[in-house]
Amino acid sequence: MGKILMKGNEAIGEAAIRAGCLNYFAYPITPQSEVAEYLARRMPEVNGVFLQGESEVAVGYMIFGASACGERVFTTSSSPGVSLMSEAISYIAGAQCPAVFVNIIRGGPGLGGILPSQADYFQATKGGGHGDYRLLVMAPASVQEAVEMVMKAFPLAEKYRNPVMILGDGLIGQMMEPVEFPEDLRTEPSNKDEWATNGMSTRGDDKQNLVKSLYLDPTALNDHNLLLKSKYDQMKKEEVLYEPVNMDTDYKALIVSYGTMSRVCKSAVAMLKEEGIEVGMIRPQTLFPFPEKAIADAAEKSSCKIILSIEMSMGQMVEDVERCVKGKLPVSWYGKCGGDVPSPEEIMDVVKERI
């Protein structure tokens, strides 16, 4: 199958189906409602489940109930909706169920706006809900990458029995780009009979499966949290993804940027190169786990004088960048968070000014 032109939100919906996820629960919210509209048409064609819930709170638990049965399930929402789902996300992580959440971020806080933003970085990577849990967070920079990440998200969620979040800004959802779908995912959720509440007759055993997050005994709860931590540590070892740009040069500055913002930065890096200014760039594709080593190593480069975290938020990822650089070089933030995406020229000026 060749390339087709698709809107990001619709491509995300189609990608889930091709990943074998035939269960979708959602609540409308701009700028991602096209996923629900697309799947309302498409799910009946593949004998899948489409249900519009009464709220994002309820949708979060519909996802929990379905995933606890070992079925592939996902939802999509945008920032305020993800805040409401965060209660369920905490429970799902605590109960160790696989599920995929897509956040097409809009501006915040509160109602904020409906234009693209990356202001949910903290919410996605540091918690959002209560308790010690992490999500595996992937940030696409194109519609093509969004499709690939959605299709990877399901096996990853099943590998770790943990929710995976695709963090796309509003532009990823709204723009149309050519897409080529990878091969359909044909694997089934594995090992689910060991834990899923899919009915004893389905498993052919007589052992109660229990999906829960309550551990009243302090030792048991601590052990449970250590087990969760070991999964997050494993993610840090095995799942880090990033794209290096212009890193084989004697770059004077290093940009760290992701998603739509990174595309603009990439153009700025190319334009600066033409002017004889070498700038390296690391584009995190996973935000948790974060490409800590790649950034730490890049900061060791003797030609490099400054590190810039450029994001469509008021300086959220910059805290992770600082953590990696450990004070070896100055770390500076630049960004906008009202809905406008900074232009390549704007980024060029910032780099020239701060070098």
């Binding site: 819930g53 049965c69 509440t197 009915g199």
Partner: protein, 245 residues
């Protein structure tokens, strides 16, 4: 003569954590008996609430999920939509279902989700220590209504069965109690009817069970039964509120 009374297969041997005189044990047993009689134990998933029954899964011998406060109907929806072949029930108290979970239960009922809710109404929050619930009676003293429930400030107790029966979607909605042997038999019949409608794929079903909470009411179990008869049953009238067409 053989054994005439034994523990249902669907009920575990674990010792109960419920207080003396609490009616959760009776209701658990009725559910287990019905599941045995219908032969659906291996195809059943229960959903525990937040409240005294959060540990309900310790007393049953089939699959269980544990919900957040009030969210059991949304979880049950998730299960039934992806696995309509499973028999699914939520087990919820009045703080859980009638307060924080009111949105979830109304919409699940209105969509006609094919699961069963067992709604245990004892007019008070149990596990958190006897606070006022939406079902608390006028002037009833609780830890958060120490001068008695002031209906001018907090409204009248919510009659959940009546409320759900007012929806236009087909359903089986009934209110029963377990304070007297004849009521226990009727409640068991109602639970069996609810599960049967579910197995037939007919409709949403809810069995509200008017119950006691001697500990948080500050009464002996006998006094609690008397108080239920005198105060709860005249307001929470028993009977079928809706049967499917």
């Amino acid at each position: 003569m053989g054994k005439t009374f034994k523990r249902p297969e669907a009920l575990s041997e674990n010792h109960t954590h419920y207080c003396p005189g609490c009616t959760h044990g009776v209701i658990h047993r009725l559910i287990a008996e019905v599941i045995d009689e219908l032969g659906i134990r291996k195809n059943t998933v229960g959903i525990a609430p937040v409240g005294c029954a959060v540990l309900a899964y310790n007393y049953f011998t089939f699959d269980f999920q544990e919900a957040a406060h009030g969210r059991a109907p949304a979880m049950a929806t998730g299960i039934k939509r992806v696995r309509p072949d499973l028999n699914v029930f939520t087990y919820q108290g009045d703080g859980d279902l009638a307060s924080i979970g009111m949105g979830e239960i109304i919409h699940a009922a209105n969509r006609g989700e094919k699961f069963t809710s067992i709604f245990v109404n004892n007019a008070v929050y149990g596990m958190t220590g006897g606070q006022m619930a939406p079902t608390t009676m006028p002037d009833q003293k609780t830890t958060t209504s120490p001068y008695g429930r002031d209906i001018g400030q907090t409204g009248m107790p919510i009659k959940v069965a009546n409320l759900l029966a007012a929806l236009q979607t087909d359903a089986y909605i009934t209110r029963q109690t377990v304070i007297r042997p004849k009521d226990i038999n009727k409640t068991k019949k109602a639970i069996k009817q609810a599960f049967t409608y579910q197995l037939e794929g007919r409709c949403f079903s809810m069995v509200e069970v008017v119950s006691t909470c001697p500990t948080n009411w500050g009464m002996t179990p006998v006094e609690a039964i008397k108080w239920t008869e005198d105060n709860l049953l005249p307001y929470y009238e028993l009977g079928d509120y809706k049967t499917p067409q």
